[in-house]
Each structure stands twice: as structure tokens, then as C-alpha cells.
């Protein structure tokens, strides 16, 4: 029994706490942020925890500056993160685009609250899904993860760092106010080792280093500033050398690689939890805190003998198109509950290409979608 | 006895020069003059190798070699 206690630690923590702990487990060494509800606890915890591991915490003068500082820290080799919520996420968008353009690994947490504008600061929503994908201007790659519980927040925070290092891309972690603030029992296995990825470094001497080299993998090796490889980083469209270019051929080549680098690895990045039943004709697509209600609704429906195919993506961008297409082939309808007016339903409709009916279940009043509301939508189709 | 003066070597890089004439206007001894779009050396004898033309050239297009090394060599002879 005692031995077991040595191995396992049981904690009751919130999603925001799990996010901070996950980041530290992933090797976070730099956090820059700005106070905003409902994400502030992440900054508060890290202001306490980072110095103990030799890491740095800074509360910047604004959200924009926090995003800039994170990029600066990442360029000198620190694993870096910021955390915010809707309005702050809007302010970060320009520099988020810079990170995508200059291929600087970093993690941006957005604990979603009701919008637009100041909106519903203390209440949950899932209405920043499109902002996460298209908030910054221009065609750009992005990865967005979305956990449905506290333990998963911990795991996905680590994954966010890994993906960002592996693909040299900013990764957005979309929590919502419910996940950020809900207390859950989490069991940590002290012996559990997480695989931690580091950005691939060049195997050539400085004089041969091309910071934006076209490689077989489409992800150029990256070296930190100060290691003897002096190079230029810019938000302007650049060629392999990192310097700005106006050459049409180079522009196309670069921007295609930039976007291809995520598209071609979509299967590696996308994770979907599938809970299917043979012959089910009702599909259900849910994510984040809404997936908790959806799970409950699925159980209630199954008690009534209704078969459901339930899929729950933890990666929203890139969008799990193949999984949805399969679901559309199998089912007569796909129910999409979400705390917005139908942002993901729109994507589900696109991915199902008219093969099935997409049914929206939405709430925008800062209240969670209840299991009964999803169950009602299911039973209407029986 | 007056020593032979080794004159400074003024180089103008026309690839980088934009013809702003700052070097010409601020030369204290009128060593330089504009010739069309570019400056040229017109009075090398007057050059004291103060290098103010270099200091104020925004385009890294003019350099003045004092030829000090040569001067000492000359003196040794």
C-alpha cells in the first residue's frame, strides 16, 4: 500500500493548474503573460513555480508584448508559453502570425470565455475556434488542441510543446472556462515518463547553415541564437537564407512549404477518440467541456437502446476531416453540440460533403450544454 | 627638410554610392566634388585624412586609407 503511495500521487486540481503543471513537465522555462479572466491562475502558478526550476516569469505590459517576449525567449532556446482568454487572444494574433511565419515554436493557451468583445468574462464558451484557426492574417499553419478534462489538459499541454518543437509551429491550447476552473481528481504516476521532443538542430557548421532550408521533412532544423550560427529572423516572406525576398518563385515555394508542413503530417497530429457501435445511424461530434455532456448523453441514449457513433477530437486544427467523412458515411445525421452558434458544425458540414445531415445544438448564454439537451437532439432522430 | 608626403588613398564605391553629396559638402578641405551622379576626388593634396567623409557617408561607399604604414616606411628610407 505504501509502495503504491510512493508511485502515485492523487491531487484534486483545476484545468488551469493542470496546464501549468503540464507545461513544467514539458520543460517550460519562460512564461510571459498579462492578467485576464479566466486564465490568470496559469500565470499566478507559474510566477510561483518557474523560479524554482531556474525558469523566468514576466508579467508584461500588455498581451501583445507577452506574445512578443515568448517568441524572443524561444529564439534563444527556451520552451516558452503564454496564456490568455478571448480579448487577449485577439491582441496576440499579429505576433502569433509572426511565430507561424518565422517558424518559432511556442504554446499559446486560450481559456475561452463568452464573446465577442469583453463579452462574458467569467462564463465559458467555445467561440474562439475560428479565431484559433484564422485569427491572424494570411495563409498560415496552426495546430489547436482541445482537452475535455483536467487530466487531459495536463497531457495535451505536454503534447502542445512536443508538436510545437517537432513542427516549428505555434500550438494553441483551447481550454474553456469550465475546464480551466473545474476541480477534478487526477492521479499522477510519478514513474511515468513523457516523451519530450526538442526542435531538430542542424548537423552542419555555421557557414553551411540555412535557417529556412527546404528539407525532405519540410521542417528546417533550428538552432538557438547565440550558438555561433548568426542568422536573420523576419516576419517578411523570406527565402532559405532567412532574408526577405520578392522573388515570385521563392515566395510560392516558401509559403507552400510553410503550409504543407502541417498538412502532410495531419495524420500524425490529429487525435480522435472514437466510441462507435456497429450499425449506429446517429453520429455525435463533441469536444472540450461539451464532450463531457455528450458522453453522458450517449450513456443515457444507450440505456434506451439507441446506438450512437460518438467521436471526440482532441485536435481541432488541423481538422479531423477523414474521421468526420467516415462518420458521415456511416450515419444519417451528425449532432454537433458546441457553446457557440455553430463554428465546428460548419466544418463538419464541409467534411461530410452533403452525405449526411448536420444537426446543431448550441448555447451562447455562458451556460454549459446539458446532457438532456443533447439527448433530446438524439431522441428526435430515433 | 620637408619629408615627401604620401597622399591618402580615397576609394569611392559606385556600386553602393547613391550620390547624396554628404561627403562633398562636409569635407573641411574641399577635396571632393560632384561629377554627375557621383563624387570624385578633385584635390587630393588638400586631404588630411580626417575621414569625416567616411564617418558621414551613409552608404559605406567612401573610404580613406591614411597610408600611415607607407609613410613610416618612406621615412625609414
Amino acid at each position: 500500500m505504501k509502495q503504491k503511495n510512493d508511485q502515485f500521487e492523487v491531487k484534486v486540481i483545476t484545468g488551469n493548474e493542470a496546464c501549468a503543471e503540464g507545461a513544467l513537465a514539458a520543460g517550460l522555462r519562460f512564461f510571459a503573460g498579462y492578467p485576464i479572466t479566466p486564465s490568470s491562475e496559469i500565470a499566478e502558478i507559474l510566477s510561483m513555480r518557474l523560479p524554482a526550476v531556474g525558469g523566468k516569469f514576466i508579467q508584461m505590459e500588455d498581451e501583445i508584448g507577452a506574445m512578443g517576449a515568448v517568441i524572443g525567449a524561444s529564439l534563444v532556446g527556451s520552451k516558452a508559453m503564454t496564456a490568455t482568454s478571448g480579448p487577449g487572444f485577439s491582441l496576440k494574433q499579429e505576433n502569433l502570425g509572426y511565430a507561424a511565419m518565422a517558424e518559432v515554436p511556442c504554446v499559446v493557451v486560450n481559456v475561452m470565455r463568452g464573446g465577442p468583445s469583453t463579452g462574458l468574462p467569467t462564463l465559458p464558451s467555445q467561440s474562439d475556434l475560428m479565431q484559433a484557426r484564422w485569427g491572424t492574417h494570411g495563409d498560415h499553419p496552426i495546430i489547436a488542441l482541445c482537452p475535455h478534462g483536467v487530466r487531459e489538459t495536463y497531457d495535451l499541454t505536454i503534447r502542445a510543446f512536443n508538436l510545437s518543437e517537432k513542427y516549428r509551429v505555434p500550438v494553441i491550447l483551447l481550454l474553456d472556462e469550465i475546464i480551466g476552473h473545474v476541480n477534478e481528481k487526477v492521479i499522477f504516476d510519478k514513474k511515468e515518463k513523457f516523451e519530450l521532443w526538442q526542435r531538430e538542430t542542424p548537423d552542419v557548421p555555421p557557414e553551411n547553415y540555412l535557417p529556412y532550408k527546404f528539407t525532405e521533412s519540410d521542417v528546417p532544423p533550428m538552432v538557438s541564437f547565440g550558438k555561433g550560427y548568426r542568422f536573420h529572423v523576419t516576419g517578411l516572406v523570406h527565402d532559405e537564407t532567412g532574408f526577405p525576398t520578392n522573388n515570385s518563385e521563392q515566395i510560392i515555394k516558401f509559403l507552400q512549404r510553410l503550409n504543407r508542413k502541417i498538412d502532410r503530417y495531419a495524420d500524425d497530429i490529429i487525435q480522435v477518440h472514437e466510441d462507435s457501435e456497429e450499425g449506429a445511424k446517429i453520429g455525435l461530434f463533441a469536444f472540450g467541456s461539451t464532450a463531457r455532456s455528450a458522453k453522458n448523453a450517449v450513456n443515457l441514449a444507450r440505456e434506451k437502446g439507441v446506438k450512437i457513433n460518438f467521436i471526440r477530437p482532441t485536435v481541432l486544427w488541423p481538422f479531423p476531416q477523414k474521421h468526420v467523412a467516415r462518420l458521415a458515411d456511416q450515419c444519417d445525421c451528425i449532432i454537433v453540440p458546441e457553446m457557440n452558434l455553430g463554428q465546428m458544425a460548419h466544418e463538419v458540414e464541409w467534411a461530410s460533403a452533403g452525405k449526411t445531415e448536420v444537426i446543431k445544438v448550441n448555447r451562447i448564454d455562458g451556460e454549459p450544454i446539458r446532457p438532456s439537451e443533447i439527448l433530446d437532439a438524439i431522441m428526435e432522430r430515433v | 627638410m620637408k619629408k615627401d608626403k604620401k597622399l591618402p588613398d580615397i576609394k569611392i564605391n559606385k556600386e553602393w554610392c547613391k550620390g547624396c553629396a554628404i561627403c562633398v559638402e562636409f569635407c573641411p578641405h574641399d577635396v571632393l566634388a560632384m561629377n554627375g551622379a557621383y563624387p570624385e576626388v578633385v584635390n587630393l593634396e588638400a586631404c588630411t585624412a580626417c575621414q569625416l567623409c567616411d564617418v558621414r557617408c551613409p552608404d559605406f561607399a567612401i573610404t580613406v586609407n591614411k597610408n600611415e604604414q607607407e609613410e613610416t616606411n618612406e621615412a625609414k628610407k
Binding site: 508584448g65 506574445m67 517576449a69 516558452a80 541564437f225 | -
Partner: protein, 272 residues
């Protein structure tokens, strides 16, 4: 004179700046100061924002970071905090640093983080075509102030002083060799330092305000600059159209990355 070539990315020349623009004069002064201190190229991170002067980072062989508009100091803050042994030099302009980036400018000064800012003040937005900036003098013309600027302008060195910078100096491209000393002192200073350099923009400012080309503008700068010492004996009215040059602030204040490292030691000490 210094052989600048060892610090230049010569393949990127000629410079993007217009004929008569003073930015290259400042760049040379920076390189002479860096060379005098004897910093290695690997230990310098040069960070710039957006604008004419911010294009400078593309031409120098350091670790160079060309960021978004106004955010150079924010990016630089991340670099300096995460790697305090790096010499972080920010290259920025009057619009970049004190309009869109004004918040970062004052807060970096307040923290007194060890970053040296070389602020190219040409009183105008040059790259975008001559729009009015926070330092365009009242009454001057700009493409967005066709009837003369109705706004008061910033004293951006004074702003840095009031916000808490350790070192502030103002110079002009006319007195470029004196500028070397200011920049050298700024880089050596442990703390937030600003060197405001008055530099001409003949294309977007000089022509529109009938001062003339680069040569005329540099002469104009010479005529209008007075040293701090001289200025102390002049009336406010006499100083109205003058540029006060010299070391304006040189003081000791606790530096931020030092403070933070001490905090780390304290936290680690109490944990063990």
C-alpha cells in the same frame, strides 16, 4: 577608420535607404562603438521593429531579429530574460518605439532591463510615405498633416528618463563621432539605455517641409543643436526649435534581469 566589412552582410548591399538618409551614418557609429567595446558577433542580438531604420538588422552579421511593428522591445525583453548574457540592442524609429510601441518603451525603462535602444528619430513615418509621427514638430507638414501638424510632439528622451531608464543620450548624425561615445556608454551601461539620434529623412520630411535634401537637413541639424550645458543657460523660448544634445541621464538603478536572477537564487535557497 574601422573596417566595417567584418560586421556587414555585404551581399545585402547597397542599403535600402534613400540618398541622403542618415540611417547609415548611425549604423556606422553603432559598429564603431561595438568594435571599440570588443563584443563578439555571437554575443549580440540585434532586434528591430518595422520602418526604415528597422531594416538595419538585415545588414549586420549578428543574431538579428526583425520583428513586428512596435514590438522590438517586447521581443528583446524575451531574449534578454531567457539569455541574460546576450547583449541585446534594439534598433527602432520614432513611430515604431513611441507610437505603436510606446507601451513597451516606457515599461522596459520602468523595469530597467539591460537593453540598449538606438532610436532613430527622423520626425516622420518614412517607409509608409511621410505620415505624421509622435515626434513631428507642431506645425510641420506630413502626408497626413497637410495643413501643418496640429498636435504637440513627444520629447522621447524625456519620456525614457521619466519612465526610469539608466542612461539616456541624444545626438545627431552631424556629430557622428560623438554619437559613438553615447552608443558605447549605452551598451556598457547595465540597465535600460536609450540613444536618441536625430537623423534626416529628406524624402518624406525634408522635401515636404522645404528644408531640402540630406545635406541641407544635416546642416539644419547642426544649426539647431545645442549641448546640454549650453541649453541649461537658455530660456524655454530660446530652446523652442533646438535639439538638445549630450548625455541627459546616467544613473545607477537596480537592473531587472539581475533582480530576477537574485529572486531565483532566493527561491532555490529556500526550497533546499
Amino acid at each position: 577608420m574601422l573596417d566595417y566589412n567584418k560586421y556587414l552582410r555585404q551581399q545585402k548591399f547597397p542599403l535600402i535607404w534613400c540618398a541622403g538618409c542618415g540611417d547609415g551614418i548611425v549604423l556606422k557609429s553603432m559598429l564603431r562603438a561595438i568594435d571599440k567595446i570588443g563584443l563578439s558577433k555571437d554575443e549580440i542580438c540585434m532586434v528591430s521593429g518595422i520602418g526604415c531604420s528597422s531594416r538595419l538588422t538585415g545588414y549586420v552579421d549578428f543574431n538579428t531579429l526583425h520583428t513586428t511593428h512596435g514590438r522590438a522591445i517586447a521581443f528583446a525583453t524575451g531574449v534578454k530574460m531567457a539569455k541574460p548574457e546576450m547583449h541585446v540592442i534594439v534598433v527602432t524609429g520614432d513611430g515604431d518605439a513611441t507610437a505603436i510601441g510606446g507601451n513597451h518603451y516606457i515599461h522596459a525603462a520602468r523595469r530597467n532591463i539591460d537593453i540598449s535602444v538606438i532610436l532613430f528619430n527622423n520626425n516622420i513615418y518614412g517607409m509608409t510615405g511621410g505620415q505624421v509621427s509622435p515626434t513631428t514638430p507642431i506645425g510641420s507638414r506630413a502626408s497626413t498633416a497637410p495643413f501643418g501638424n496640429p498636435e504637440n510632439s513627444f520629447n522621447i528622451s524625456g519620456l525614457a528618463e521619466a519612465a526610469g531608464a539608466s542612461f539616456v543620450a541624444r545626438g545627431t548624425v552631424h556629430d557622428a563621432l560623438i554619437l559613438d561615445k553615447y552608443i558605447e556608454k549605452a551598451i556598457r551601461k547595465k540597465g535600460f539605455s536609450v540613444v536618441e539620434v536625430m537623423t534626416p529623412c529628406p524624402t518624406a520630411y525634408g522635401r515636404r517641409n522645404r528644408i531640402g535634401d540630406g545635406v541641407a537637413m544635416i546642416k539644419d541639424l547642426k544649426e539647431h543643436s545645442v549641448s546640454v550645458r549650453k541649453a541649461s543657460k537658455m530660456s524655454e523660448e530660446e530652446l523652442n526649435d533646438k535639439v538638445v544634445t549630450g548625455i541627459l541621464v546616467d544613473r545607477e538603478r537596480p537592473e531587472y534581469t539581475d533582480n530576477y536572477n537574485k529572486l531565483i537564487e532566493r527561491v532555490k535557497g529556500s526550497n533546499s
